[in-house]
């Protein structure tokens, strides 16, 4: 009996220890109630302290982003930054882009990570701005290093909350050699585009590799809609209830998607094809056009060094009615967390990235164009893209949809049409979802 009593005592102690551990774990994880005002809460990615004497202890700043493929280049740049700013250490955390959308906001709230972070334009930018997690960068000297027209996506209420770093053209890539081989000029209107696709199809090629299962609709809708609805506020109006997906501009866009699909200009079963498979068709030169964007140029070239690639946008109207030549997106928006304990060090890091020689190192190393002024591009692909800076392009319409569920409804209507639904019906079904979302 005595030993049983002893055993139960031990068990009680274990239970109590377990209770304390679990409660402690729960306590540190609960950020909602105390995060807003309590600047001392939470552990930093690397602890730093300001010494009372004014001598700074080493500081670790945390950098959150989603470009895992750029990390090797960024590591070299970070080394240079750390050499120049002895005492500042940059610790990087990278998440895949889809996870980044869902996890980064929660991480930013208590300021322990993400002193410097990146944001997508559109819905994520709006959500982070609404939560007050962007430090205002207006008036910082490094803002002037950027092309003013290319950093508008990071502005809100007259403040520069984030600085878009990458410049992407969300228009299809074409295989120059295949176009030349079949005597095809870059089409200037919709009839020309269909004729080019027909010629490619007759030659036994897949005219357009389209990743209908994931990124395809979200990328290709942009050039498809740009001239059907030249009003750059069209999706803002849709969310305000002033425009509808059942209007002519969207039904026409869906009808043109259907035309491409029904004519067999996309590869077979395009709705089941993911980006990797669509890219493979283009890289293996089985497809002449890849409906993605300039961000894919470097990856394609790495897989097939013989590829000669350029960009083209489908012009969905007669040539004389075309207002825009293509689509651009400024993304990978650099920002400082308003809850950061080291905002000055964070700004120093952004200042470093904003220098034209560093931006050039990033661009040439990663194959991504940047929004920083006067950058020298050395690779063939980046030169191809930089040709587009003088053309009349508009900001990616999809990113002007700030309500994710409205965006999903828009993209789903494209998938529905490719799956056999009539454009008018698909538009009506999507509009019904939009109406619910905007409370109409």
């Amino acid at each position: 009996m005595k030993s049983i009593f002893k055993l139960s005592k031990i068990a009680l102690v274990i239970a109590a220890a377990l209770l304390v551990t679990v409660l402690a774990a729960c306590g540190s994880g609960n950020g909602l109630g105390n995060s807003a005002n309590n600047n001392d809460s939470g552990g930093a990615a690397g602890e730093t302290k300001q010494a009372g004497s004014g001598v700074k202890d080493p500081v670790t700043i945390s950098f959150l982003h989603w470009r895992g493929e750029d990390q090797a280049v960024l590591d070299v740049i970070i080394d240079k930054f750390e050499q120049e700013h002895a005492g500042i250490h940059v610790e990087t955390q990278v998440f895949p882009s889809d996870q980044y959308q869902s996890t980064v906001q929660a991480k930013l709230i208590d300021g322990s990570v993400g002193d410097v972070f990146t944001s997508f334009p559109g819905a994520q930018f709006e959500a982070i701005a609404k939560a007050g997690l962007f430090a205002d960068l207006s008036g910082e000297s490094f803002v002037s290093a950027y092309e003013p027209a290319l950093i508008e996506a990071g502005q809100k209420d007259g403040k520069q909350l984030a600085l878009p770093y990458q410049l992407v053209y969300n228009i299809p890539i074409y295989n120059v050699a295949l176009f030349e081989q079949h005597g095809i000029e870059v089409p200037k209107d919709w009839d020309g585009f269909l004729a080019a696709a027909e010629k490619l199809k007759a030659a036994g090629l897949t005219p357009i590799a389209f990743a209908g299962a994931d990124i395809g609709p979200g990328q290709f809708m942009n050039p498809m809609v740009m001239n059907n609805a030249p009003d750059e506020q069209i999706f803002a109006k849709l969310q305000a209830g002033e425009a509808k997906l059942t209007d002519e501009w969207w039904v026409k866009t869906l009808t043109q998607f259907k035309e491409l699909n029904d004519n067999g200009y996309f590869q077979k079963d395009a709705l089941g094809t993911k980006a990797d498979a669509a890219n493979a068709l283009f890289i293996q030169e089985k497809a002449a056009i890849l409906a993605s964007g300039s961000y894919q140029l470097a990856g394609n070239k790495a897989s097939n060094p013989n590829l000669r690639q350029k960009l083209l946008a489908p012009i969905t109207v007669p040539a004389d009615q075309a207002v825009f030549e293509g689509i651009h997106t400024t993304t990978f928006m650099l920002a400082v967390n308003s809850k950061s304990k080291h905002p000055e060090e964070a700004k120093l890091f952004i200042e470093f990235l904003s220098r034209k020689d560093i931006a050039a190192e990033y661009a040439n190393g990663t194959g991504q164009n940047v929004t920083v002024k006067d950058v020298d591009y050395t690779s063939e692909e980046l030169k191809v893209v930089s040709e587009w800076t003088t053309k009349k392009t508009r900001f990616q319409p999809r990113f002007t949809i700030t309500n994710t569920e409205v965006q999903e409804a828009v993209l789903s209507s494209i998938q529905a049409v490719l799956g056999g639904t009539e454009p008018q019906k698909a538009a009506e079904e999507a509009q019904a979802i939009v109406d619910q979302q905007i409370g109409k």
């Binding site: 959500a127 994931d214 569920e405």
Partner: protein, 290 residues
């Protein structure tokens, strides 16, 4: 020392963990379902039953619910029937049979995300091995746009879910079958029972507890199959594979409407509870006696 104090070390840790990791989050979720919290802002408002009205009328929620029921029915039927048929062949204890049980169990230990990626490649219409195999054996008319055709995409995902979990259910059924007293089967045989009457009059009624576990576990699994859907289709094409768990995830982490996501979770909890309760009643697990 009182008796309950002495026994406390036995029930307190479990209760504590259950309270912290199940009851507390459930109550918190219930609380947030009456708010418009966006998951980020430090403040939120109480909006009464607005979320409940919005979610119950939401077109995408309705689609998710219907898809989830289709998904559940497909998995429940295929997983239960196939695992039972396999278990009936795999009850004996020989080396070959133990090896086969281990083989069938293998997919269960793979992470669902890996399973999702593997099968996404297998199903791919241009590069995938499934259509290529069908064409090679002369069944090219059976080749499908497995994940891209909105009429069959949910069933293609359900097939993967069943593939991954049949082995697990086989083990549960084998355990149930091995617990049936041999004398009962022998005496039934002596009384002239054939194979079918032996199964339907002796084996199946006595398998009810194992069947109830398989059926309820499969049902709950089918509602929680988030990772598979997320990696394979992301809910598309055109919402055709959107299920309740992906709807909740989207509402919370992509649309930043935590209040709405919490409301959908309450519906989700109620639905699973009702279905599981009905299944236990229908399978009459309380009536087993030897």
């Amino acid at each position: 020392m009182k008796k309950w104090m002495k026994l406390m070390p036995f029930w307190a840790p479990g209760l504590l963990l259950y309270a912290l990791f199940f009851i507390y989050p459930t109550l918190t979720g219930f609380y947030y379902s009456f708010t418009d919290w966006d998951g980020l802002s430090p403040s939120y408002r109480y909006i009464g039953f607005d979320n409940y009205a919005a979610v119950s009328q939401d077109i995408v929620f309705h689609k998710s619910l219907v898809n989830n029921l289709k998904f559940m029915a497909a998995i429940l039927l295929s997983q239960t029937v196939i695992s039972l048929l396999l278990a009936l062949r795999l009850t004996r204890q020989s080396k070959a049979i133990v090896a086969l049980r281990a083989l069938y169990f293998l997919p269960t230990v793979l992470s669902s995300v890996s399973v999702g990626f593997i099968w996404t490649f297998i199903y791919d219409p241009t590069l995938g091995s499934l259509n290529a195999l069908l064409e090679r054996v002369g069944l090219s008319t059976w080749a499908q746009n497995w994940l891209g055709d909105s009429a069959i995409a949910i069933f293609s995902v359900a097939a993967v879910q069943a593939w991954a979990h049949i082995g697990q259910m086989v083990i549960l059924f084998v355990a149930g079958l091995q617990s049936i007293p041999k004398e009962l089967l022998e005496s039934a045989r002596l009384d002239g029972a054939g194979r079918f009457s032996l199964f339907f009059r002796i084996t199946w009624p006595l398998l009810a507890p194992a069947a109830a576990i398989v059926v309820s576990y499969t049902t709950i699994q089918s509602f929680k199959a988030f990772d598979l859907v997320f990696t394979m289709t992301g809910g598309g094409p055109a919402y055709s594979t959107e299920i309740l768990s992906t709807y909740i995830y989207g509402s919370a982490f992509l649309s930043y409407t935590f209040g709405k996501a919490a409301t959908a979770s309450v519906f989700f909890l109620a639905l699973i509870s009702i279905i599981t309760f009905l299944q236990f009643r229908l399978l009459r697990t309380d009536r087993i006696s030897y």
